[in-house]
Subunit: 332 residues, 2 copies
Amino acid sequence: MKIRTIATSLIALGFSAGIGFAQSNEPIQPVKPASQINLGMVELGKKLYFDPRMSKSGFISCNSCHNLSMGGTDNIPTSIGDKWQQGPINSPTVLNSSLNVAQFWDGRAADLKAQAGGPIANPGEMGFSHTLAIGMLESIPAYVREFKQVFGKDKISIEEVTLAIAEFEKTLVTPNSRFDQWLLGKADALTTDEKAGYKLFKETGCVACHNGPAVGGASFQKMGVVAAYKANDKVEGRSAVTGKDADRFNYKVPTLRNVEMTYPYFHDGAANTLTEAVDVMGRLQLGKKFTADENGKIVAFLKTLTGDQPNFALPILPPSSDKTPRPTPFGK
Amino acid sequence: MKIRTIATSLIALGFSAGIGFAQSNEPIQPVKPASQINLGMVELGKKLYFDPRMSKSGFISCNSCHNLSMGGTDNIPTSIGDKWQQGPINSPTVLNSSLNVAQFWDGRAADLKAQAGGPIANPGEMGFSHTLAIGMLESIPAYVREFKQVFGKDKISIEEVTLAIAEFEKTLVTPNSRFDQWLLGKADALTTDEKAGYKLFKETGCVACHNGPAVGGASFQKMGVVAAYKANDKVEGRSAVTGKDADRFNYKVPTLRNVEMTYPYFHDGAANTLTEAVDVMGRLQLGKKFTADENGKIVAFLKTLTGDQPNFALPILPPSSDKTPRPTPFGK
């Protein structure tokens, strides 16, 4: 009897302060803050992430296309690479990318560390090479000291470079979205329309692919299930990795965390707005034409997935030394 | 008698703690921290400074070429503009630029506010227009609210945009360099070689142009006084502004604050190292060939001019709305 009274009081208390019980049976789970992080590695990786000397031109850094001021993306359909080359695919957000089953749209990198080395040496992206990047870093005494402090080695290799960048990227999670506050028990964190949008999101089947803490990122799925998708690009997705015809036009399901900030949408960046993206997804993946009201409610729900953005001081990079090879943005 | 005793004690105390009297008769004065700053305007200006949507491509922000991670420069000889166009002149540092007599190498902008509008609308730089930039900002509710909060107006114009950017740039001063600590009385802030370098800097005449708190920035001077400078570019300096033949090859004397970070040097970015820059300056401006020892000491002095770098959280930009025109990085 006494236990019952306490429980009743707690419920009353909870409701009056807008605090309810955590939603434990939902297909989406809250994003957790980063843990088990090596802070020295994070600080080094943050510098590398922001250092345009990791590119041939001295102009393009990881942050150029995965801009942490803009949801970890560049907000253009496909990225700009060395000498203004047009990239083949939309830059996915780096935010919460540690939660992905694999990296890149086709999953060709198993993890963040394997991904980090890719763009540096891609002629269409940063246009550099691992050897040249290491040579640059080894010519800068402050970098040499910091690598030594973090890894305890005199030599720098691409192994340590990508480990540090990946460790920094692990910190780029975005907890505390209004949706997560609701999941964790703050009953009034969502409006009626937002809750109705979430209900639609579950009942119509969006959640079949967009689930888990990242609301996506956990599987590869075909783009164009019910009807074919007419893409703006020539890529064929997962089959480029597996060689299997069945994997043609299969792509990693993108995370919907911070989706309000990560426009334009899809692997070809063809959808400019969430309204358009929800409409295309409904028709092509679910065979369902959402009404304007349904679409609006789902979009309202999606905007509750914006979490705490990265919060750190702009890193100051150690200056090049007289021995540092200079970037070659023009010619050669 | 008592006053004398106290003074003697203070001197003794000062010397034992490495604190001496301030150097009050020096031709270089300490950089002062920013004051009389409108913080709301600074926060808005900081966002605008980092926002690549101020460019046609959506890829180039003020920070692209005046990178606050790298001494307020891009560390390449001449900058990369829209569609990878090669700029005509080296990007000067934004650090301490509020101390300059005028802005740009040829002084064509009277102040930071007048400067800020230039690159946005320059077809070779950000390639946008003021009208398009305002249209972008007015389509984003969070920007509209912030402009209203700061300026108390419903409409945004280039006037408020450049005022806010300039106010942010006024905060980009770099006090507390080791040289300034020495100027302010910390006798052991400089090594013997650094002090010897400063003595040479004064006695050989460098200080005739590089003086004041910015160690430059206060006057226009001819590049190539004793012997002509063979530039890598075709610009003719101040005469483009005044129309006077006497101003040909006159340029604003660059600040030497943080010069260790602002390589490469000169208006054409032709000198890669401080050693080279000091050598060229000695021969062409002073008719003096510095010995390796003299050059080394002057360079050691110059490296004491690196002050506290900007220290603030990376700004998070408000996302575009459905009405925001999308950038056009390719084509058109």
